[in-house]
Amino acid sequence: MANVLTAAPHSEEDVLIEQMGYDDHFHEHHDGDKFQSNFITTYIFSQDHKMIAKQFLITGMFWGVIGGLMSLVFRLQLGFPEESMAWLKPVLGKWIEINAETGMGALSPDFYYALVTMHGTILVFFVLTAGLSGTFSNLLIPLQLGARDMASPLLNMMSYWFFFLAGLIMFISLFLNTGPFSGGWTAYPPLSALPQASTGSGAGMTLWLISLVFFVVSVLLGGINYITTVLNLRTKGMNMWRMPLTIWAFFVTAILGLLSFPVLASAFFLVMCDRGLGTSFFLNEIFIGGQALDHVGGSPVLYQHLFWFLGHPEVYIIILPAMGIVSEVLAVHSRKPVFGYKAMVFSILAIGFLSFIVWAHHMFMSGVNPFISNFFVVFTLIIAVPSAVKVFNWIATLFGGNIRFTAASLFGIGFVSMFISGGLTGIFLGNSAIDIQMHDTYFVVAHFHIVMGVAAFFGMFAGVYHWFPKMYGRFMNETLGKLHFWGTMVGAYLIFWPMHYIGMAGVPRRYYRFDTFQSFSQFDDMNKFITIAAIVTFGFQLILIINFFYSIWYGKKVTEKNPWGATTLEWTTEVDPGHGNWAGKLPVVHRWAYDYAKDGQEFISQITPLKEGESETH
């Protein structure tokens, strides 16, 4: 062994990497060991994937709090329309209208719509796309594949900063005199395409569009990197069938994003032309303020096609990373190989493919041909098959396992519960006939919040608790973590379960108040209940935030490299991996990622060579 070692080996895994590892001469390069970074290049304009992951996570958390608080404000309006909101005046200013006679403060209807719109935009794009996929793709793709960094660290850094810029512009739009955009997160024309259509359609929509164009750039830069890294920078021995399911999920997510976000960009481009250049792509003959506009012959349904061609893959861009994280976390914490690994991979691929041919199920009631709807119904219901395969496999992974009920695994199990509950209502909504009653009601709100909102958050939480030791070299507090889990698990069902009943009775979503319709007054108490549940559940999220930031500086230190006893490569690095991730050679992979409870051993790391006569098949 005439190799130059940078540190004396002190564990079995170090010895393995030293003896069998792959020497890529990384440390002889000028960007290897001699790499220097100062405060700015370490913490701000960092090109290190681990730091970029943390930046995505913390920015995502910031937006999560903002978006969550917004939902509380409009829930207060929905639950307690008779109560005075004057106490919010110091924060919301002119958006709280005080009645001069009674002194009652009411949320302005314009701002109610702005809040709903911003809540959707922020949560879907900034928190669950950037905050989830951005964080864990960045953290795990190089670490779990045995790469020094992403294929292009520069593009990776730019991906974060475009996201930051998108967030900054959206944040500024919150403070406009006319308020942020208020036409719904889907930004359907004419509300989005006519600057004079509503108060938020002017400057608010302009900033919304610019912000989201930057966001699309961020997603594309990130996605190009993720795909290239997965296909080109796997370490020796890491063939595709040895990749952990996390990587498969991030990989397919990146492909979905790369193929669907440009379509959104094209729709936005056409909206911009309609807004500023007098074209009529989406604007039909319109009277506004008693005046006929010049626009002629546009098709608002065309926008919906373009939007949902992104919009549907987008929900899988959100849920697939969570699925990958949960598969990994459940396998590690039940000390069992993931059940049906190849079936899991093929399910991910099938879901990814199907996600592109179901978009019109968002438009059953938009006036698309009912005959064409039939195809979309069939494809939509077929998605239930790979989804059910995955659910079955998660349960089979847990079954008979030696489950460690950590905060991470609890959130993983909670994810499965949420995905089942929310997925079942998807089968209702996927039927175009049932959708006549259900569309645009609280049933839809309940469905997508559970299946892609709460479930994706659970996946994200599972990932945060599980990989926090890798990110910060410390543990998060388990007791607080479990408290957070139970509060969120119970709270989320208390919020969204009653919404199903309200929705089945036909109560429409996006309404400011329901007192015009006597038939809906029977749900007043339920609305109060939902609002209270939402406030309490949001309160439980503060536990996570406190736990997270407390643990960064004061958490229990990680003393061993592999605290969870996991097989994957990220746990063969130093506790606090430096630039280039592995101090010496790159690890070489000899087996798949799920050798748990094999041949009487609790777990066998991927870098352990097969023993004499041992078969790799599983």
Partner: protein, 194 residues
Amino acid sequence: MSTLENTVYSRNKIHPQKFALLVSCASVVMLFAALTSAYVVRQAAGNWLEFPMPVLFLYSTITLIASSFTLHFSYKGFLAGNVKSYKYLLLLTFLLGILFIYLQYKGWMALVALGVELGTNPSGSFLYVLSGLHAAHILGGLAAVFVAILHAFILPYEVSAKRKLRFEMTQIYWHFVDVLWIYLIVFLWLQQQS
């Protein structure tokens, strides 16, 4: 160490940056696929003004195809050590690219002279949007060719792996936007026939 030899080590068959470029081309394809399918959907909905396509677009297409050839032979010259054809064909590629943009501009002006303005009818709006977005991608390509010209005229001539990669990537992108325009012009022409 027998297991090591059994494992095929398939890293970096293609340079990661080159691969990333191909992946980004895929996303550009989706951008234009979305716009051309929107074109088809919108056309089927009626209220669609027909107009003849200016012949200038034919000339611009020929120009762009010619520029791909000059770039290709510049690359051949670069590999073969024919420095003169390397440098001047590269320069010619750049000039042809500029000429393409100019011809597109003249084409748009010819359309305006016909009375087909940006906001007149979606049929014209789509043509402006498609050719305009494409021209923006050509400008990006021109920037890449310009950098290649700087390399050719300032750096000492050598066929290093790095220089080769840079040139190949410029070439991939330029041919890509060329083929993209051929797709668009054939698409527009076919749509007008139908």
